[in-house]
């Protein structure tokens, strides 16, 4: 029985964004990210972030799931912001606390904001997209090789099993009298050994899965049909156009306000 069964059960993604074509979503997110990568000011990410937050209720992605997916992004944004506030080179303005000045606090805040603004559209898309839909869409719209798309999908399904395997291996080592105690070097060696056994196990399991897939005609050279059709409809085009408009609009607004700083030539 799956000890981490809960992890393996995919959440059924449904909602306005989930129903959009994943490749179109990917294109939209790429355009938004591009607009932010070339802009070094504060106004552009602020505008894009505002638009993304406005899009959250529209997307019908549950806020709890969005926060769970965005956890790592938020933590790294805070970390980057604090690091810059503490150790940044901008030592202007009044001293607030220790090494922090109003200038360095501003820089830290601006960088944290940029990280969130760049990451959030992608996170929202990931939280909304069913991996199966993405694989279907990659194959049908972008002509990504079938072996790659569905092979990756199948491998993804094995990840929770690997987590379970890792736990079992740790317990089995304890049962054999093997633990590191408080010795950090022994701990590292033990960890490395366990990573190796995990990889060996993953390869064996992957080989078995590949056999089962081949036995069902995967990669047989026959023309493959698709059970689930992914099509590009008008709302998908509108989504891409909306992303373009937000990205361009943010840059144009910032230029008009005289705040825009491009990545090159600024």
């Amino acid at each position: 029985m799956s000890l981490l069964g809960g992890l393996a059960v995919p959440e059924v993604a449904d909602g306005r964004l989930a129903r959009r074509n994943p490749v179109c979503g990917l294109l939209g997110v790429t355009l938004l990210t591009l607009a932010l990568v070339v802009s070094l000011d504060v106004v552009t990410p602020l505008l894009v972030l505002g638009a993304t937050l406005l899009a959250v209720p529209w997307s019908e992605v549950p806020v709890s799931r969005l926060l769970r997916t965005a956890r790592l992004l938020l933590v790294s944004a805070v970390a980057v912001g604090v690091t810059n506030a503490l150790f940044g080179t901008t030592r202007t303005g009044e001293v607030l606390l220790g090494p922090i000045t109003t200038g360095s606090a501003e820089t830290g805040l601006a960088i944290a904001l940029r990280v969130v603004a760049i990451g959030l559209p992608g996170i929202l898309l990931v939280a909304a997209t069913d991996p199966v839909d993405l694989a279907d869409s990659l194959v049908q719209q972008l002509r990504v090789p079938v072996k790659f798309a569905y092979g990756t999908l199948a491998a993804l399904r094995l990840l929770p099993l690997l987590a379970e395997e890792w736990e079992t291996q740790g317990l089995a080592r304890r049962a054999r009298g093997v633990d590191a105690g408080r010795n950090p070097v022994a701990r590292l060696a033990l960890f490395a050994g366990q990573v190796l056994s995990l990889l060996v196990g993953a390869v064996r399991r992957g080989t078995r899965l590949a056999t089962a897939m081949d036995a069902r005609g995967f990669g047989s050279g026959l023309p493959r049909t698709a059970a689930r059709q992914q099509v590009v409809r008008t709302p998908d085009v509108v989504l891409v156009l909306a992303c373009t408009a937000v990205g361009l609009g943010a840059i144009v607004t910032s230029v008009l306000l005289g705040t825009w700083r491009p990545l090159v030539g600024g």
């Binding site: 059960v9 995919p10 199966v132 199948a154 317990l171 054999r176 897939m213 036995a215």
Partner: protein
């Protein structure tokens, strides 16, 4: 047709060749020809279907319907007919849920049924089954056999250790010779009447052959471990209070998903109980102290292997516990003899056969002379010979004064070895009462105690 052969008899190789997954050029020594429909099996690949032991590594997609459709897509079935065939296949295996059911939420038996649906949807002329019920509990195995009994219009080639359960499904039995050739070929009744004893000696489960009983001769000794009111989030209910005594073997049974493995890990001091009391408190002991007191044998022997050779594997525990190298070597030689692994001392544990791996995994747990041995499904997927060897080995340990707890859904094994049976989610049954056979659905944790 039922295909029988002792371990290493080449059953799996033959199945792979028939399924067209075997490349004669890459596999060095291959002799003879395999034809499916008069063609090379690789050309006839779309006419054959293959179902393997492990349900987890056969499912490709996250949802049941998508998984059945996967094969149909590969076969180029037009979309208009696809979902109708998916639904037909799901109905044919009696799949109790809809297409959107997440595959990860299924029990082992249900997953194996789904794997069968995925293959049957392709309407194979030849259906190859490699021990499809070996990794399932009795209820799950019954689900799969029900489906196989209803398959019509397809040649069924079944590899199975558990002959008695498989016989109603077949009308012909073929026994393979290790190294090539067919020993026997005929209707089941005739094959077992003439060759029953010889087959049993080779590790085949011959129906109707008596199973020896190895219950404890004397009364159990002092308590080795007491578990009172143990709970864990993965358990549907509390573990019944348990006292394990020296010289006593206890079987812990219960349906799949009731948390038997978690119980074994708690009792073995590997997993911290959320509540309740374990005396001695093994879960708080450092690994070395634990290994000297309690040995754990995992369901998959490979999880326990940490060394490059069988000999090193058996020395590892004693050395970790501070034995002198000479003492560790003596212990190793003793165990090699007892486990009949002397000829494999220098072999890599991962290259051993299933039965040898099982014996070695028990050996690794024994190396530190623990007073308590906790085993998780020790007879899982073993042939008759290993099964009997394991019974002898464990009965011998118990008679030498060790306390044994075996988590198992193998009723025959519990019946043969256990002095007491504890049913998870139920009451303690006296020895001989057995477990209500086929104990209901996966979801029923209740136990039956015949009076």
């Amino acid at each position: 047709m039922l295909l029988l052969a002792p371990s290493g008899g080449g059953k799996s190789t033959l199945l792979a060749a028939l399924a067209g997954l075997h490349d004669p050029e890459s596999s060095g020594r291959s002799k003879g020809t395999v034809l499916v429909d008069g063609r090379d099996p690789r050309q006839a690949r779309l006419r054959t279907g293959l179902v393997l032991q492990d349900p987890q590594s056969q499912l490709v997609m996250a949802r049941a319907g998508d998984d059945v459709a996967f094969g149909l897509e590969n076969h180029g079935v037009p979309r208009e007919r696809m979902w109708q065939r998916v639904d037909e296949a799901l109905a044919a295996v009696g799949f109790p849920y809809g297409r959107d059911r997440p595959t990860a939420a299924l029990s082992g038996g249900e997953q194996q049924r789904l794997a069968l649906a995925g293959v049957l949807a392709l309407r194979p002329g030849l259906l190859l089954l490699d021990e499809p019920t070996a990794q399932l509990d009795p209820a799950g195995a019954a689900l799969v056999r029900d489906v196989l009994a209803r398959v019509r219009g397809t040649t069924l080639l079944l590899v199975e250790h558990r002959v008695a359960e498989a016989l109603p499904l077949v009308d012909r039995v073929v026994v393979l010779e290790p190294g090539g050739g067919v020993v026997v070929d005929g209707p089941p009744a005739a094959v077992f009447a003439e060759h029953g004893a010889a087959l049993a000696a080779r590790g085949v489960w011959v129906p109707g052959l008596p199973v020896p009983r190895r219950r404890a001769a004397g009364a159990p000794g002092a308590a080795v471990l007491t578990a009172a009111g143990l709970r864990h989030p993965r358990l549907r209910s509390r573990l019944p209070d348990l006292v394990l005594r020296a010289g006593e073997a206890v079987a812990l049974t219960g349906p799949n998903g009731a948390g038997k493995s978690t119980c074994a890990r708690m009792v073995g001091g590997l997993v911290r109980p959320a509540d309740g009391e374990l005396a001695p408190p093994l879960h708080r002991w450092p690994a070395r102290a634990l290994a000297g007191f309690a040995g754990s044998v995992f369901q998959d022997p490979e999880h326990q292997f940490l060394s490059r050779t069988v000999a090193d594997e058996l020395e590892l525990g004693p050395l970790r516990l501070g034995s002198a190298p000479a003492t560790a070597r003596r212990r190793r030689d003793e165990l090699l003899a007892r486990l009949q692994l002397e000829h494999l001392a220098e072999a890599n544990p991962f290259t051993l056969s299933g039965g040898e791996q099982r014996r070695l995994s028990v050996g690794t747990a024994l190396a530190t002379r623990p007073q308590l041995l906790v085993l998780d499904e020790p007879t899982f997927g073993q042939d008759a010979r290993t099964w009997l060897e394991l019974l002898d080995l464990l009965a011998g340990l118990r008679d030498d004064g060790a306390a044994l707890l075996a988590v198992t859904h193998d009723e025959a094994f519990a019946e043969a070895l256990a002095d007491r049976t504890v049913v998870l989610g139920g009451e303690v049954a006296p020895a001989g009462a057995g477990v209500g056979s086929g104990a209901g659905a996966d979801s029923a944790p209740a136990a039956t105690v015949p009076s």
